[in-house]
């Protein structure tokens, strides 16, 4: 069986005439490269902690419901944890997907269109997620089912 060969992106299979913008973006790409590595290290801690607390401790996945989330976000510790994780993971993931689009979408128009969709999705998700973390009320008025136990004080 022949070993399949996958060309590394930009390995010469693309004609030089398609090479994109000449220079000027050097420092941005350098910062992005560094950011991928720094955010990666921090994300290991944040994500492993997140998975451990949500899936391994207590009753695992089956324990997850409104009460569980409300119990966590009642504490500023988990609010900050999740906020950092949201921003870092979205920016890291968006930059990673941007690289992949640059690698495979060879036509200028396709690349622009895909990246526009990507950036719109990123902004929507980061803004939505941030608003949810900060405007969340663990004991919403009128709700009856499944509130965390500390809500009975109301």
């Amino acid at each position: 069986m022949a070993t399949p060969i996958i060309d590394a992106p930009r390995s010469g299979k693309i004609d030089v005439k398609y090479n994109r913008s000449k220079g000027g973006k050097g420092s941005f790409e350098m910062v992005a490269w560094l950011f991928m590595r720094l955010s990666g290290v921090v994300l290991v801690v944040l994500i492993f902690g997140h998975l451990f607390v949500n899936l391994m401790v207590g009753d695992g996945v089956h324990a997850i419901d409104f009460g569980f989330v409300a119990g966590k976000w009642a504490s500023p510790f988990w609010q900050i944890w999740d906020l950092l994780m949201l921003w870092l993971a979205m920016l890291h993931g968006t930059n990673g997907v941007r690289t992949i689009i640059n690698d495979y979408a060879e036509r200028n128009g396709t690349r622009m269109a895909l990246k526009t969709v990507l950036y719109v999705a990123t902004v929507v998700i980061i803004v939505l997620g941030t608003l949810v973390i900060f405007t969340f009320d663990p004991c919403p008025a009128g709700a009856v089912t499944d509130l965390p136990s500390f809500c009975t004080a109301r």
């Binding site: 009753d59 089956h62 419901d65 993971a89 608003l131 949810v132 709700a143």
Partner: protein, 111 residues
């Protein structure tokens, strides 16, 4: 080479999952009932296996990401890149075994 393909694919998969994950979690802001209704539909063996696959992808991406960082910043990283890949695979097994025992016994144990 193949570790790079694996890193790319897991990265994209995790990214798309994250988009959906933020959307479903946002339902806590709609009402407890809306959130529980949607999360409730995840509580079946098929989603349980999907979650296990997702954790497998994240754990690989995380350890291999640390390997990439080691290769870039550690003087001897390049020399030991193949051994580092073995370390990634071993750590992946070490992390996945306890997780899978926990996850699968919850998902299929009917507790």
């Amino acid at each position: 080479m193949w570790s790079w393909v694996g890193h790319r694919i897991t990265g994209v998969v995790i990214f798309f999952f994250l988009l959906v994950h933020v959307l479903d979690t946002s339902l806590v802001r709609v009402s407890p009932e809306a959130y529980n209704a949607v999360i409730g539909t995840y509580k079946n063996p098929i989603m349980g296996l999907g979650e296990a696959g997702l954790v497998a992808a994240i754990v690989f991406h995380a350890f291999n990401g640390l390997r990439i960082i080691a290769i870039d910043f550690w003087k001897k990283g390049n020399k030991y890149q193949a051994q580092l890949l073995w370390a990634v695979l071993i750590l992946w097994v070490v992390a996945m075994v306890p997780f899978l025992i926990r996850q699968l016994s919850i998902v299929f144990g009917g507790n």
